[in-house]
């Protein structure tokens, strides 16, 4: 076993463990933290595949931004998990049968026989001066420019939808009015009062 293989199996084992914990732990915050671990280990797997740019983006975007935001949301919510567990035992046998069936079929389809080294030989490793980011950029802005633009439009729709669903003008909220705050003058806030000095007792 080469060093690379040991690394792969180690990271893969942690990834599967973390992914399992995400859906089994009771505490939602712990689940989110295990999700972070899963992202980190899959980033490591991508590094082994020479996909450095994707690995770094995964850590920066998912771990750095999405999961932190997610943690905030989870901490804000008062989650009552009891109703969610209702019927767990009732659906468990069906769930297990379906899961085993899917796993069996997947194991038959995805494996050595169809995707082994004979069908998919190891690609030639690139030199140290090979820039993954540059190659991705070249492809994204030329061959895949049309899908790239559609992805941008999807993000725009997500923004429009999120604002349409959450922005609500209500009376009585204590929102800041930035323009009013900037335009404030001293006279609006400070009142100078002329008082006589008090006698010392």
């Amino acid at each position: 076993m080469t060093f690379e293989q040991i690394l792969f199996y180690a990271f893969a084992a942690i990834l599967v463990f973390a992914a399992g914990m995400v859906i089994t732990v009771r505490n939602a915050v712990h689940a989110a933290l295990f999700m972070v671990l899963a992202f980190f280990t899959s980033a490591a797997l991508w590094l082994l595949l020479e996909a450095e740019f994707l690995a770094i983006t995964l850590v920066l975007v998912y771990v750095g931004a999405v999961m932190v935001l997610f943690l905030f949301v989870v901490m804000m919510l008062d989650l009552n998990t009891a109703p969610m567990r209702e019927g767990f035992a009732r659906y468990l046998p069906v769930g297990i049968v379906v899961a085993l069936l899917v796993i069996a079929v997947m194991a038959m389809a995805v494996g050595q026989r169809h995707f082994g080294l004979e069908q998919m030989p190891v690609p030639v490793p690139h030199g140290a001066d090979y820039s993954n980011t540059r190659e991705l950029g070249l492809l994204l802005y030329t061959t895949y420019v049309y899908p790239f633009e559609i992805a941008a439009v999807i993000l725009l729709v997500a923004i429009v939808a999120a604002i349409a669903l959450t922005l609500r003008q209500r009376g009585g909220t204590k929102t800041q009015n930035i323009a009013e705050q900037v335009a404030v003058r001293r006279d609006d806030r400070v009142r100078l009062v002329q008082m006589d000095a008090e006698q010392r007792k």
Binding site: M108, A109, F115, T142, Y144, I150, V160, L165
Partner: protein, 479 residues
Amino acid sequence: MNFVMPDFMPALPEMFLLGMVCFILLLDLFLSERSRVVTYLLAQSTLLGALLLTVSLYEEGRALTFSDTFVHDPMGSVLKVFIYLATFLVFLYAKDYLRARNMFKGEFYVLGLFGVLGMNVLVSAHSLLTIYLGLELLSLSMYAMVALQRDSVQASEAAMKYFVLGAMASAMLLYGMSMLYGITGSLDLGQINTSTAAMDNNSMLLAFALVFIVIGVAFKLGAVPFHMWLPDVYHGAPTAVTLYLSSAPKLAAFAMMMRLLVDGLGGLQEQWEGMLILLTVLSLAAGNIIAIAQTNLKRMLAYSAISHVGFLLLGVLSGTQAGYAAAMFYAIVYVIMGLGGFGMIVLMSRAGFEADSIEDFKGLNERSPWFALMMLILMFSMAGVPPFLGFWSKLAVIQAALGADLVWLVAVAVVFSVIGAFYYLRVVKVMYFDKADVGAPTVSAGFDLRVVLSANSLAVLGLGLFPGSLLALCVAALA
């Protein structure tokens, strides 16, 4: 790396749409509540502009551009034209409904137009990547539109169900696509077709990928057993949004099936034929039988949509050019009838009253004989009574299936469509033979809605008397 500048001309309607949506999105911010009608008018003229551009490009013939991720062909052009027309009618029907419910906002039109853009992308997709992205663009807009009425518990529940199940179906589709990419090493539908055709037809790996792709497509079409979301979403969403969901996206889903199964996996026709037969029989049975038990008209029409999907699949699974043309004809006819059906619910409703139960149509003949007649035309057409349009579409797919020697399947389809006639005719009976409740409202909708809805229903009759031209258009588009 050799890169040639893509030809932008075939994608002109899409670019026009995108530019206009962004313009409307920005302009809407500066409009006061009273001049909101400008957004509506701009949205409608955008659809008409895109329609003109698409029609002017129709003669161009088949062309690939954007590194073969985009295809321009007659089938795409015809479907796009009907997508614009259907959305135009949806916006027109929905205007007063939205006004009465304080939903007359720019977002409805912006999201609706983004959905149209997604449908266009889907219709013209020639790569797994563009199919998936177009589908997501469409679905995301639709999820948001269903949830737009935030104070309604029903709408929120429907949106949540739709979102969760839709995301799962997308994941299934994506898994199938990733398998397909693993097998063929390409995202391009043309290359996938050539490499799968060269492979062993009984390859378990291909079947594995195919199952996931068929599940994804069946979910988006709403075929049984992947239909669970459809009645709840149609029922829970505001009727204006149901109108949108039930019309143009059906054409896009049909196009997605054609692109994936025929353009991409045409070589596996023997394998997907069996899967589609199963979906067809289940859809026809479940759709028609469960619809009988419904008291809510929106729910009934949702189950009717499921049974219509069964007929649509009947055309596709026959695997011939005639069959595909018949299925396309069926999809277009269904959209015309569905628009009329849900349009009638919008017409009857007013602020605080949804008119979505069959009871609400009691004695419509006494109150408004003209619209009772229009509804009669629509119901007869959906049931497949000659000489209405629905009859010819059913006839076309049945002929196609007979051409593929699927006699037993045709018998099943005919039996279930006779069973289905019951619930359509029940609506007619309620309108003509039941007494109206005291104080039942009369039709008070706006002039434009009444005229266009009448034209919509009369088109079902008129095109039914002369079905040749529409069918010929579909045959020519697929030739």
